[in-house]
């Protein structure tokens, strides 16, 4: 009996240390269900669908996939929020001018990859710390977009109010905004937005890269022990550059989603703090900030957890939006506290138990 209990505890402990992100999401979901019930509503699939289709999940989540790779190599990218603005701006301009969907997608991916490549080359070849480099490009990318938006003809920017907006007069506007951006795939009585499936596809792609490709293994190796990785033949500089380019491509995909779902981007305010939300999602996914460890699968859960926290806060009546970040910060700290302190506490308990046993003997 005692033995069985112990092995169950051990299994649970192992599950927690490997898949903590699932537990985190479940606990937060339960919290959300309680607040919904407390408001006098019934928690149903509609609520979950709202979380899945939220821009926090799909846009931040997509960016977080690349961010996870950057963090696994032991680096950081603070420029993603600003790259998103720059990239979406370029994407919308190309759409407004050409009305071409392929060109628009190509622009998004190319500009995203370029933003990432600039970061990567400065870090990889310039041997500068990624924190400082991406802090610099974070300021540059946003301010460039800002300075352009005020000078561009409204016929091209699509708006006269300091933002880039998709021109509704373009013939492909409806296809992008209504059919794709707001469209849903119905399975029986459930329906989920197309854009969620884009995120899901990206997530699966990144999970496969991280688990099943030789490149993916080299990303982990660089983060775990750079010297050993180099002496095993891995081109460490290239791996470090490449994860920034991958993040840039994720930003490119996210900017297509931003354009199609929201139809505009405001350089002064859109995507602000997205780098922090993306990092938070990666942390909630159980990825080690020191590099070398973490599961890409977790990022799906991390992004959902983060969105759900937002939903909980919004659904509590009387809670001002101003206090929202305080709660988000608290939850983040608590989750990390459990992840780091949990194993220490477990060890102490085991030690105390052993001491008791040996003194009894």
């Amino acid at each position: 009996m005692n033995n069985e209990k112990k092995s169950f505890g051990a299994t649970l402990g192992r599950l927690w240390s490997q898949y903590s992100f699932i537990f985190v999401l479940v606990i937060i979901m339960i919290g959300y269900a309680f607040t919904i019930q407390a408001n006098g509503n019934t928690f149903n699939f509609g609520h979950i669908a709202a979380i899945l289709s939220s821009q926090n999940t799909v846009i931040v989540g997509t960016i977080a996939l690349g961010m996870a790779f950057v963090i696994i190599t032991g680096q950081i990218d603070l420029s993603v929020g600003s790259s998103l603005v720059l990239c979406t701006g370029a994407t919308i301009v190309v759409f407004n001018v050409t009305n071409s969907i392929p060109l628009m997608i190509l622009t998004a991916l190319a500009v995203g990859a370029l933003c990432g490549a600039v970061n990567g080359l400065l870090v990889g070849l310039g041997k500068m710390p990624p924190f400082v480099v991406t802090l610099g490009t974070m300021l540059i990318y946003r301010s460039l977009t800002l300075s352009v938006v005020r000078k561009v003809d409204p016929a091209i920017s699509g708006s006269s109010s300091s933002q880039f907006a998709m021109l509704s007069s373009n013939s492909n506007y409806m296809a992008l905004r209504k059919t794709f951006g707001a469209g849903k795939l119905s399975i029986g009585s459930f329906s989920l937005p197309y854009i969620f499936f884009v995120f899901l596809f990206m997530a699966i792609l990144f999970i496969v890269i991280s688990r099943n490709t030789k490149y993916g293994k080299s990303v982990y190796a660089v983060g775990s022990n750079e010297k050993s990785a180099r002496l095993a033949g891995i081109n460490v500089t290239w791996v470090k550059i490449s994860v920034f380019i991958l993040t840039g491509l994720c930003v490119g995909v996210a900017s297509i989603l931003q354009a199609c779902k929201i139809s505009n981007v405001t350089p002064a305010s859109s995507g602000v703090s997205y780098e922090m939300y993306a990092i938070a999602s990666v942390v909630l996914a159980g990825v080690n900030m020191a590099g070398g460890k973490g599961k890409l699968l977790g990022v799906i859960f991390g992004a959902l957890s983060y969105t759900t926290i937002n939903f909980i806060i919004v659904s509590i009546p009387g809670l001002s939006v101003d206090i929202q970040d305080t709660f988000q910060g608290l939850v983040l700290i608590i989750v990390i506290l459990i992840q780091t302190v949990g194993p220490v506490i477990r060890e102490n308990i085991q030690r105390a138990r052993k001491r008791k046993q040996s003194s009894a003997a």
């Binding site: 490709t213 293994k217 982990y220 775990s224 050993s228 180099r230 033949g233 070398g292 040996s358």
Partner: protein, 501 residues
Amino acid sequence: MTILEMKHVSKAFGGSQALSDIQFSVEEGEIHALLGENGAGKSTLMNILTGVIPADSGSIRFLGKDYPSPTIQQMEAAGIAFVHQELNVINDLTVADNIFLCRELKGPLGLLRQKEQIARARQLFEDLGVEMDPSTMVSELKTSEKQLLEICRALYVDAKLLILDEPTTALSNNEIEHLFGILRKLKTQGKSFIFISHKMPEIFAIADRYTVLRNGEYVASGNIKDTNAHAVTSLMVGSQYVNEDVYVPRELGDTILELRHYSGQGFHDIDLSVRRGEIVAFTGLAGCGASELMQTMFGALPSEGGHMLVHGKSLGGSIVQFMKRGVAMLPSNRKENSVVPDMTIMENFYLAEHELSKGKHPFIKVKEETGRYEAQKESLHIKAASSADSILALSGGNQQKVFLARWLNIGADVLLFDNPTQGVDVGAKEEIYKLILDFAQNGKTVIINTLEIPEIQKVADRCVVFYEGRIVKIFEHSEVNEHDVMLYSTNAIETTQEAAV
């Protein structure tokens, strides 16, 4: 007089018994060698003695006082100092600052009395016969001086018993002699030492008594003068693997590797040719350039002149270029340069192969990889439960075999081994020697860089001695002996010749 007595000490970690019923004692004014393979329990015993971890049972008596549950602070105050293998000095402070760290001499207002610290440090060095300037920065000291500094620091607080954990690993022979001179002097002043080392010649040069542990059990203790290295080694490893002569002369093939006027960081103008199936040993004092040469021959350091030819064709560029041509290097300092700690055994094993094959086959084929891993595991006798376990679950020797296998897996035929038996226990060392000879038998060319001369005698067809970045002598297998190799490595030969002229 017995100053330390440990009795019936036992300790278990999880399910495994790390120590069972150990007895250990140290006399005043003796150097006591604590011997055993890696994993024999030496570190655990010392950690218990210094209060780092609690024992499950047993007693500790030091200077007539019992310590039922010692703490680090208690044992330090009692006069036991642990000089760790990895140096714990702070590079960015002066020598005197390091000695007075955490026990600074303070004046009113809490300001440091720097002059007095320096004066007292100078006095301490004088008493000990150490030549060191208390006001130099520690970063400017040689490794041996840092080691001495640590010992001095322990002696300043009047430690009675010093634990020296492999203190000579980073030292050259001259430096070791210097250290030993000071230890002998301190011994006459009544200090006692627990000396942990794997190097037999050192133990027989310095120690008075010894205690041998094996698999967490007490095996024997006695006076060093009543025994010999062969007997002690047998006690350490049990009955197996005692100093067999494993060397077999072999038929060598054509020249496969040539160095022509090869120069780089720390070595100059090296000319050498190596034949297929040959085992060549590089040796010399720390800093002689042999390790740097080896790293340059793998593309890990840039070459600065001359050529390296493999199969008659010049070779240079990045590490992958060398790998493609069948050159592989097992770097020194396994933990720092080989292990990828967050990865499994399998992932560590396959890292290099992936770099060569990912262009054509970007995806991992688990079945094929498992097959090749199992084959290598079998042929190298790697003791591992599951290939999905962390690399850290393996002992040092088995980890090293995984990294050997990493290079066999890409079919490398020029194998460069930089200090391959570092941190590997005696049994695994012998296995690695046998493997090296097997590789050569099967047509692989091996170059091994080592400071241990018995190792050279075991495997090498030729021994190349380096001094200050140049080759000073090449010995054939039969000519290799400790005395002559030392003579050339320290360049003593030139000084005697000059004197004769």
